[in-house]
């Protein structure tokens, strides 16, 4: 066991973890992040949900006027356990917006441009044929904002053999939705299907398989030619592709296509594995390394809380069957950003299961001592059925369960007192909100990550 010391140690390499590590580094000091397996962040679509007017989550019409800061005020009244509401005790809505801007700035520094604005929602098509309402997204996706469909002549390109994406359906559904939301349909919308060289016979390509194929210069070249031939004479203003335009060389692929086709090119969010999600995580990881943050590939096994410093036991050199090498890292501040059920920060166990915290019910897996709460109260024991409701349309309590924090993002014990002065939480491990239904997954991860790292 070797000893290392840092001023800040972040556990968990999702959007929350990396934002925390980067902001802690910006605030000064030596920072390490333990980042093991991918979590929810690498599955997110590349569309950044930051907030939604709590009363209108399921509304189809776009709210006339509502900005991020206005929504913060609405949320703090309607959802008192939302981390935004808790942070509101110490930070103004403008400061929270700055946190999001900072996350977008990190992405830009890492070579991923973003688009959008804080005071309006974009309308972004997706492969399910619906529209996503969001303020920010990766630029390649944001460029597809259906702000004025009447001015868009759109060619939707599908890929032969890539089954999760039906251009005809997306075109028909997109047009119908545009009519209902904006009152006007697309000036023109057509669908095409194009084969990728070398994969003509495949009938089940995955997102990453297409993306890696398109990373090859020669394959994209041939692909661009076929697309151009298909859309020739259509006088389109935009072409839309599934969000698979390159994994490593996406910038070259997208700008190359736009240049060759001579019209705007954008990406439509698709299902998992999410190529934009992987791009985001790769970018954050390389930015962290570049900024002098120590990125440790491994798993944190335990956190022990002394008087001032706290330390974590890390097992590194990940392997499937080998004996891991253990090391101990002491830090002035430990930020737990281990995510929820996907990241593994929270698990549901049955009595006798081999997980921390005894096993029964919902437990926090890293320390085992932070209680999981629903609406501010610790949930004890019980089976999964205690946390779900029978109909899909209703909110599912299980998706709002998580750690309860104070305005400094310190996790609270059952009595509502901080577990340790120097322990913080960030991201979806914090409860009180449903990241998907509440349309604030990336936003909450970035805001809590930023403040946890900064302070």
């Amino acid at each position: 066991m070797s000893d290392m010391e840092y001023s800040t140690l972040v556990i968990g390499g999702g959007i929350a973890g990396y934002t925390a590590a980067l902001s802690a580094r910006e605030a000064g000091g030596e920072v390490a992040i333990v980042a093991g397996r991918p979590g929810a962040s690498s599955m997110s679509s590349g569309i950044f949900h930051t907030d939604a007017d709590p009363g209108r989550v399921r509304d189809i019409a776009l709210p006339e006027k509502n900005s991020f800061t206005e929504n913060m005020n609405l949320i703090s009244i309607a959802e008192p356990y939302h981390p935004y509401s808790i942070l509101a005790g110490a930070h103004s809505p403008q400061e929270m917006l700055r946190a999001i801007d900072c996350f977008l700035k990190y992405l830009a520094e890492a070579g991923l441009e973003t688009g959008g604005a804080a005071d309006r929602y974009m309308l972004l098509m997706n492969n399910l044929g619906t529209m996503n309402r969001a303020r920010f997204a990766l630029k390649s996706i944001a460029d597809g904002d259906v702000a004025s469909p009447g001015k868009m002549k759109l060619a939707i390109i599908g890929i032969k053999g890539f089954a999760d994406y039906d251009p005809g359906f997306i075109a028909a559904s997109g047009d119908a939705l545009a009519r209902r939301i904006s009152g006007e349909g697309f000036a023109k919308i057509d669908a095409f299907e194009v084969a990728v060289k070398g994969y003509e016979n495949s009938d089940n390509m995955t997102t990453t398989q297409v993306a890696e194929a398109l990373d090859e210069h020669e394959i994209t070249g041939a692909f661009a030619e076929t697309v151009k031939r298909n859309i020739a004479g259509g006088e389109y203003t935009h072409t839309a592709f599934p969000a698979v335009l390159g994994l490593k060389h996406h910038r070259e692929v997208i700008s190359g296509l736009a240049e060759y086709l001579g019209i705007a090119v954008f990406e439509i969010a698709t299902l998992q594995p999410s190529v934009p999600g992987i791009r985001i995580m790769n970018a954050l990881r390389s930015l962290a390394t570049r900024k002098g943050i120590t990125v440790i590939k491994g798993t944190a096994e335990a956190v022990d809380t002394g008087d001032d410093v706290i330390a974590a036991t890390i097992s590194g050199g990940s392997s499937v069957y080998g004996t891991p090498q253990k090391s101990r890292i002491a830090a002035g501040k430990v930020i737990v950003a281990t995510g929820r059920f996907i990241g593994g920060g929270i698990e549901h166990g049955n009595a006798g299961d081999d997980i921390k915290g005894g096993g029964a019910g919902l437990v926090e897996t890293l320390t085992g001592i932070i209680p999981i709460c629903y609406k501010g109260h610790p949930v004890k024991g019980g089976t999964m059925m205690n946390f779900v409701t029978p109909t899909v349309a209703e909110p599912q309590p299980v998706f709002s369960c998580g750690v309860m924090v104070d305005a400094k993002l310190r996790p609270l014990d059952a009595n509502g007192t901080p577990v340790h002065e120097n322990l913080r939480c960030a991201g979806s491990i914090i409860g009180g909100y449903d990241p998907c239904r509440g349309k604030c997954g990336t936003g909450a991860a970035a805001v809590t990550g930023y403040f946890a790292g900064m302070e």
């Binding site: 397996r37 991918p38 979590g39 690498s42 599955m43 053999g161 070398g198 994969y199 016979n201 495949s202 009938d203 089940n204 390509m205 995955t206 997102t207 990453t208 398989q209 890696e212 299902l271 998992q272 594995p273 992987i278 590939k297 050199g317 990940s318 392997s319 499937v320 069957y321 080998g322 004996t323 891991p324 090498q325 059920f341 996907i342 990241g343 593994g344």
Partner: protein
């Protein structure tokens, strides 16, 4: 009822079928009994073997799959199988868990895995996908006829004939067999039959370093059986290996091949037998690190190191081979996919992918990374990888094993003759 010619024909047909059916029982046709016996053989005991504890645990564990597709996105076989015949580890997990396991149906998929374990490292839920696939292969062999898989049949026959996958006995190394020694050096099928010169170098190094070692009359460690799905516990060759090793009185087995390393370290019956006899297993790189010697490479030599899946990702040995390489003063150039994320060599002779064209494509992809890294030397620590890369277009890039490389560059004190 109106009777036209069509309905008459139909009624006549029905009547004929009815009487034919009734009288069929009375007339015995030749061969009928055999069919029944065949039917009974295949279907009556439905061949569904009960799950063992570990198989049950694996299956339950895989229920945690969230269908995110991460495994598929990192799978080298999926990446190289362009016609889509392989739907990836995720599809296997889904096939084996979402309904009652139908191992026969998942057969083609489970036999296209290289066991590189990249999926298991990346799985957000930490599911042991390669373990699940091995269990599924084991079941496939139990419930389906091994004869169904033609390409495997020949390998199984060869293993039965000679105890190795090359189908003929190998006495090349008999002169190194001693009755007793401190250490047993287990070279493995590929090392004895294919990458022979590298094995000779390794042996030379052990001799030069005055290691009291012996070799044994080797049979396949069981790695090949295991990857096909054949039980090791009743395997004759495995039994003979264990007996021969114990008979030497050695307390350490050093394997030249990471596959043998994993099998002897963690598979039964080796595990129990070795534990009872206080025998430990090390890979040759781990063993060499414990020895004192000096080596010096040519000035300014830069080399890439390819992490073998069975050494790195599966068993966590990443740093030791690198330490050994640096010891000789070589600068290591890390390939784009390295350590936990190392790219599989395609495992053409390791774990058998049904489609060898896919293996070749993976090996080619890896070699491309090596070429683009601009090194003149590629080092690895697995005879399987070594042989695969030697048979891949490598544009004059030298390919050596870490042990073989050190043997050639040992200082005069421990000079190895070669």
């Amino acid at each position: 009822m109106r009777l036209d010619s069509k309905s008459l024909e139909a009624i006549g047909n029905l009547a004929y079928r009815f009487w034919a059916h009734v009288f069929r029982r009375a007339v015995r046709k030749p061969g009928q009994g055999e069919e029944l016996a065949a039917f009974r053989k295949n279907y009556l005991p439905d061949k569904l073997e009960p799950l063992t504890g570990s198989e049950r645990a694996l299956l339950l564990d895989s229920q945690r799959c969230v269908n995110c597709g991460t495994c598929t996105s990192v799978c080298p076989v999926v990446d190289s199988a362009r016609d889509g015949f392989y739907r990836g580890p995720g599809s296997i997990t889904a096939a084996l868990t979402r309904s009652f396991p139908d191992f026969g149906a998942a057969r083609d998929a489970v036999y296209n895995c290289t066991q590189c374990a990249r999926c298991a490292i990346e799985c957000p839920r930490g599911i042991d996908i390669p373990g699940l696939i091995l269990a599924a292969r084991h079941k496939t062999v139990q419930v389906a006829d091994i004869g169904m898989m033609k390409s495997y049949n020949t390998i199984v026959e060869k293993l039965a004939v000679s105890g190795n996958i090359y189908g003929k006995p190998c006495d090349r190394f008999s002169s190194y067999i001693k009755p007793r020694a401190d250490v047993v050096f287990f070279a493995g099928c590929v090392g004895r039959n294919e990458t022979v010169s590298d094995t000779i170098l390794t042996i030379g190094l052990l001799e030069a370093l005055k290691v009291d070692f012996t070799m044994i009359e080797e049979y396949c460690c069981g790695g090949f059986h295991r990857s096909i799905g054949i039980d090791l516990k009743t395997n004759e060759g495995v039994r003979k290996n264990i007996d021969a090793i114990i008979a030497t009185g050695a307390k350490k087995v050093v394997t030249g091949c990471p596959h043998g390393f994993e099998v002897m370290k963690s598979c039964e019956p080796y595990g129990t037998e070795f534990k009872e006899n206080n025998i430990t297993v090390e890979h040759i790189t781990e063993f060499l690190r414990g020895l004192e010697f000096e080596a010096a490479a040519e000035d300014g030599l830069r080399a890439a190191y390819h992490d073998p899946c069975f050494l790195g990702r599966r068993n966590g040995v990443y740093d030791i081979p690198r330490e050994l390489i640096k010891k000789a003063g070589v600068e290591i150039v890390e390939l784009p996919d390295t350590r936990e994320e190392s790219l599989c060599c395609g495992s053409k002779i390791g774990t058998f992918v049904l489609d060898s064209g896919v293996s070749d494509a993976i090996a080619e992809k890896r070699m491309k990374q090596v070429r683009e890294s601009g090194v003149g030397l590629l080092l690895t620590a697995c005879p399987g990888c070594l042989s695969v890369f030697e048979n891949t277009e490598h544009d004059g890039i030298e390919i050596e094993s870490v042990a073989g490389f050190l043997a050639k560059r040992c200082s005069d004190k421990n000079k190895v003759e070669w």
